[in-house]
Amino acid sequence: MNPMDLLPEKIEHLVHELSVLPFNDMEGTVAGAAVLTNYTFWGIVALVTTILIFTVVARREARRIALAAETGSAAELAPRSRFTSMIEAGVEFIRDMAIDVIGPKDGPKYTAFLGTFFFMILVSNFYGLIPGGKTFAGSIGGTVALALISLLVFVWVGFAKNGFIGYFKSLIPSGVREMSLAGRLALGTYIFVLEFISTFIVRPLTLAVRLFANMYAGHIILGVFAAFTALFWPVLEEGLSWSIGSITVGAVSLVFLVLMYAFEVFVAFIQAYVFTILTAVYIQSSVHASEH
């Protein structure tokens, strides 16, 4: 049997595996009366892990701060465990990003908010890299939910900082606002419509789709290379013909699989970072909306 004959079946199986399925019945459909989908399940696993990590680290920090206050020695504040230092570095990274992007005055307030996005996506993405695991960012539902939270917050910040009317006014550049009445009507309306679509539709849509597409496409690529390896190495798959050529193709696929895996680890991090920094940028544009 030619290995290539089995490929469409494999791909279909892969796409099916990656689609949203009820967790308790993997063969069912979305519309089935399931309680938990496969993505939700792994999202909850990631959530529990994240909460556990941060609870442990924060309790450790609290204990050492208390100890330092008690003994009055600054040596208690020195970094001790690698794991804690790693989490601290992550938190500092988020705080520096918030201060850098939003500004030193408003930035620190949003650290926890941005950190929630970052660590939730990051931990979940790493779970998605475990074979059999999923990241909730691999389903469009999960990323849309996050993007909607981002939209809600940056629009709300815009209203709170500039007022309801002021925020919509700020969508039109100040140069246009100083034009004559006709110019304002013509160009202003045009730009307003464009900016409105860009702010309220394109921003959340791209946030959601970027994250989803990167994760989904990444997992498809990994799955395809894995399927190729399995198909061309008949040791793994019964009843398939094999030759020197097919062994070579399987080996090359395996090498690419490993390389792509490494790249996906990088993508898992970079997408969490991009989602967070874009949310920060959108919040910044709302905070300073009246200035441009």
Partner: protein, 192 residues
């Protein structure tokens, strides 16, 4: 979570079997499934609550406290360094001063000794000259006294001799003149 599944099921029923297949098929990948949206919101809120209320304040507090402690100890170290440098400078100055002082004292001592020596020598010289002068004076006085005595005795002797020789021929006036002349002669002799 039951709600959105009920919603999805309802939709599927509304659009028939085909729609349900469409959702799970091609559209499935980009159709936001409500079954994923609600749990994600709940998860986000829970995580946000934990991070905002508990974890981040602790960790950020730790970072800030550590930064403050490091800054403080660095400043303290800088202060200590400056103080140490100042002290070192001071001690160096003191040592230099002490050395200069000692040198001065030695110089002074030498000078004093020098001057003392000179003084002693000068005193000794003076004393010796004084002694010599005194001795000379004494010798002079002795000599004068001896001369005067000699004069007196010579005059007496010569008067007696002359009186014997001339008898009563000489008047008292001539006698005095003669003595004076003789004394002058003797004095001139003495001058030579």
């Amino acid at each position: 979570m039951f709600i959105e599944f009920a919603y999805a099921a309802e939709q599927a029923a509304e659009h028939g079997e085909e729609a349900a297949e469409g959702l799970a098929g091609t559209l499935g990948a980009v159709y936001p499934n409500p079954a994923d949206i609600w749990p994600t919101w709940v998860a986000f809120l829970i995580l946000f609550f934990v991070l905002y209320k508990f974890a981040f304040p602790m960790i950020v507090g730790m970072l800030d406290k550590r930064a403050a402690a490091i800054k403080e100890s660095l400043e303290k170290a800088e202060d200590t360094r400056v103080e140490a440098e100042r002290l070192l400078e001071e001690y160096k100055k003191q040592v230099a001063e002490a050395r200069a002082e000692a040198g001065k004292i030695v110089d002074q001592g030498r000078k004093v000794a020098e001057s003392m020596k000179e003084e002693i020598i000068a005193k000794a010289n003076e004393e010796s000259t004084q002694i010599v002068a005194k001795a000379r004076e004494a010798v002079e006085a002795e000599k004068k006294a001896a001369l005067a005595e000699l004069q007196a005795s010579i005059a007496d002797v010569s008067v007696a001799v002359a009186g014997k020789l001339l008898g009563e021929t000489l008047s008292a006036e001539d006698h005095a003149k003669l003595i004076d002349r003789y004394i002058a002669e003797v004095g001139s002799l003495n001058d030579n």
